[in-house]
């Protein structure tokens, strides 16, 4: 028996305009958690897709237990016991959880009828055994992202996979869910399952992995034992230069009020109560105000209410002195609002459009980009090239790359570039660094601070405590649709913040 369950040797994979994997070697031991680290677009997802049979490499070989294997498609991968949770989930929205899990691996009776009962028992047993709580009869469109992920994991377990690939599983999870996932992964490893784990969060790597392989711009940099390294060394390895993990910023100089929210109320789509209930706050020029909270406490609806994506039922919103409570999305944008949306695939991008078309998504009507309704393609190209350069958006073919083919992190960078460049008095940033590598996060954080220093107001929504504490000048905690506290990041602790976020502590009610 070979020392490794999986060996990927000298893998090369090209896409138009780019070598996504260039002579990459990856060796996975049995029962280890092996992290894969690299900048956005370094080729991590591509490498994993090669292992899972979605792409055929131009060169290199894959060995399973020391024997060379050919993986032509995901079915071959499944047959070899390889399973994958994709960066963007692959579930069918209108199917139930159970149907999604058994899809493609159905057991059937004599006449080809599904044996659902057995399947159901197996799924329930697995979910029990690993503590993967799911509602098997719920439709996928109705369950939370965290549960969708557990469904994806169950899919792999249902197929008795022994080699589990997790492509950025934690990017979409809440801190609590992340902790749970880490425990589950450790449990898998103990059982002898081997795990490949992609993440941009160095804390997670330090917490669970045994070894780390680092890629940079499609090339193999090295593999290190987690115990013998640290966060700084890892980030330097992946970026190729020293990265500043701590954000440095000057104290804020808040000016006049840019955004004033009074009694905003937004109904919920899930339950009868309001998702956002009578919320009031101000954001001033030159400050970064952060709305912190556990996911699902009304942050999404609050932002929808502010940006006009959802109708608020009560309350007043004033932007730069103008009442925009009833204004359309467009009018709000024109009144001075830019918005980095939470869901980049749903709202942020038209995936079938090219990068340059996406970069002018709100600007195409400006005189600079059109003449009597005819788009000025040269201007669009020039503008896109500038943004791509400034924000280091990496892709195969530059402005004409179809956005769908770009790596997740670079899609995000494109949106951020577009929104920051609009240069509006108010920047609303929801989870702006989700899925970004440490180098890109550093860059984006600096950009957001620069926006602030320019005298713009920034409203930040983040689930990550580190980002909340590091970036913001003032923190409001939202719990069950209400603001339960305002704290100063310099004077508070993560523990105190946690108490507010979980609803255990509340300002204004303490005295009673």
């Amino acid at each position: 028996m070979s020392e490794y369950v999986i060996e990927m040797n000298h893998i090369r994979k090209e896409f138009p305009g780019i070598v996504a994997n260039d002579d990459i070697t990856l060796q996975l031991r049995k029962g280890e958690i092996h992290a894969l680290l690299g900048e956005n677009g370094a080729g991590k997802s591509t490498l994993m897709s090669v292992l899972f049979g979605l792409y055929q490499p131009e060169a290199g070989e894959i060995k399973k237990d020391g024997k060379v294997v050919k993986i032509n498609n995901p079915n071959d991968a499944t047959a070899l016991g390889i399973g994958m949770v994709h960066q963007h989930f692959k579930l069918i929205d209108v199917f139930t959880v159970l149907d999604n899990i058994i899809l493609g691996a159905e057991t059937t009776g004599a006449l080809g009828f599904l044996k659902k009962k057995e399947a159901r028992e197996k799924v329930l047993a697995l979910s029990e055994k690993y503590g993967l709580k799911v509602d098997v009869d719920a439709k996928v469109e109705d369950i939370t992202v965290g549960m969708q992920q557990r469904v994806e994991i169950l899919k792999m377990l249902y197929r008795d996979n022994e080699i589990l690939i997790f492509d950025e599983p934690t990017a979409v999870l809440t801190p609590q869910e992340i902790d749970e996932l880490m425990e589950i992964m450790k449990g898998f490893a103990k059982e002898g399952k081997s795990i490949l784990f992609i993440t941009h969060k160095l804390n997670e790597i330090m917490a669970v992995s045994d070894r780390v392989t680092v890629l940079r711009k499609g090339k193999y940099v090295g593999t290190v034992n987690t115990k013998e390294t640290n966060k700084q060394e890892l980030s330097n390895m992946m970026v190729g230069r020293p990265v500043q993990l701590e954000l440095k910023k000057k104290p804020a100089k808040p000016g006049e009020t840019i955004l004033k929210v009074e009694g905003l109320t937004v109904p919920s789509k899930i339950h009868k109560n309001n998702a956002v209930n009578n919320v009031s706050f101000d954001v001033r020029a030159g400050e970064i105000l952060c709305i912190a909270g556990i996911d699902g406490n009304g942050q999404t609806e609050l932002i929808f209410g502010l940006t006009g994506l959802e109708k608020a039922t009560a309350g007043k919103v004033t932007l730069c002195g103008k009442d925009i409570s009833k204004a359309s999305i467009k009018q709000r944008a024109l009144a001075g609002m830019s918005h980095i949306p939470e869901d980049r695939h749903k709202h942020g991008l038209v995936l079938s459009y090219t990068l340059e078309q996406n970069l002018v998504l709100q600007k195409y009507k400006e005189p600079r980009f059109q003449n009597h309704g005819f788009i000025k393609f040269d201007e669009v190209r020039e503008y896109a090239e500038q943004l791509i350069e400034d924000f280091d958006v990496r892709s195969g073919q530059g402005p004409i790359t179809v956005t769908r083919s770009m790596s997740g992190g670079n899609q995000q960078k494109a949106i951020i570039a577009r929104e920051i460049d609009r240069d509006e008095p108010l920047l609303i940033a929801v989870q702006p660094t989700r899925g970004l590598d440490v180098g890109a996060i550093e860059h984006i954080h600096n950009q957001i601070v620069a926006e602030r220093d320019k005298g713009h107001a920034v409203l930040l929504v983040s689930l990550e405590l580190e980002e909340v504490m590091g970036l913001s000048d003032r923190i409001l905690v939202i719990y069950e649709g209400e603001i339960v506290g305002e704290v100063d990041p310099k004077k508070t602790t993560p523990e105190e913040l946690g108490l507010y976020m979980s609803g255990a502590k509340r300002q204004g009610k303490e005295g009673n």
Binding site: E14, P16, H88, V140, S328
Partner: protein
Amino acid sequence: MPRKDPVTGKLKWYKSEGAVAVYSALISILIGMAVGAVIVIIVGLSKSNISSSGIVEGIKLVFLGVFSTGRDSAGQLVFGFNGVNMGNMLFRAVPLIMTGLSVAIAFKTGLFNIGAAGQYLMGTMGTLSVGLWLGWTGCPKAIAWLCAFLVGVLLGALWGAIPGIFKAFLNINEVITCIMTNWIAANLVTWWFDAHEMFKNSAEGGKVGYIIPLKNVGVVTPKLLMDKLFAGSQANGGFWIAVLIAIAMWIMMTKTTFGYELRACGANRHAAKYAGINDKKNIILSMAIAGALAAAGASLYFLSGNTEFYWSTYQKLPAEGFNGIPVALLAANHPIGVIFSGIFMSMLNISGIQLKYLTAYNEYIADIIIAVIVYLSAFSMLIKMMLSKRIKHDHGNVNAEPAVSAAPADDAEAPAEIVKKETKKGGQK
């Protein structure tokens, strides 16, 4: 900084997406014609009055019908330039091109317009009524022509807008409303002409149930050289108008901010909304344009003057309305491509007629071929996928979207996909 590899830069033009679309269309067409040939053989073998040479003739006509010039003195089929056939082919292509455009433009906005038949009927009603009426009042023919055309187009636009409005404001699937508006139009048109005796052609004996042709009042499309090019045929300037409209549509979709908006709404309605694009307005406009295009097809067809309209339509929708779907599919929804696929479909019609006149076959063979191509045009997406996989594979790139995509509604190119998506999503949440 974008990393560019000079070696594996852009795809060669013959490997580009557009080229692949053309290949896949051609493959569907070839398979369709081959199936047609097989049917010609089977029918020939099963019929005693068709000899083996008759079968060969049938096959020849299936492929080269437009070039048939009849039989020589020895009774052999002769082929060559046939101005009448060619001209008629272009003439009959006009409504197909227009309904094809109608379907294609709606597709691009993520809508499946199967209401072209109703829109076509509304256009017919408007154009014939206004054309005849203004013709009788003695107003200048050019003005009468223009009014007849515009009223037809306007009625079609209105008819198309109705499913659009239902879709935009109530999120009712446009396929369902289109089916309903089709039949409402069919009945409305019957009722209108039934109630207005003056439009009925009673002068010519044996023409029961027809509307007076527009040539009787002199409101007809000028020939614009077509009579010189294809003497003796029905071809007229309507073909040039259709070509111009197709080019205009292509420019509108690809070069203007309006087209950018329409396509954004079709590709990802949520993102369009986020960007401040008025998605409701665009859905309605897109359907109105689709309706106007289908109606324009009817207007141009009847403004040729000598075409006659059988007004009792309440039991049968015009085939042109539905043939727009394969025309659009074959062209991969490309407005310029629609010109060619429209001409091609019309060519099959001509072949059918040639078969009927020159052999013991009847013209329905052509319908079968069309049906097979309609069927295959749905497959042309599949063929396209297989081809692009192969081409990109050679190129070192299997551009496979991983197995089951659960991404939010984004691309909407094929109608099959749209229908699937509609049933899947149950509309917007």
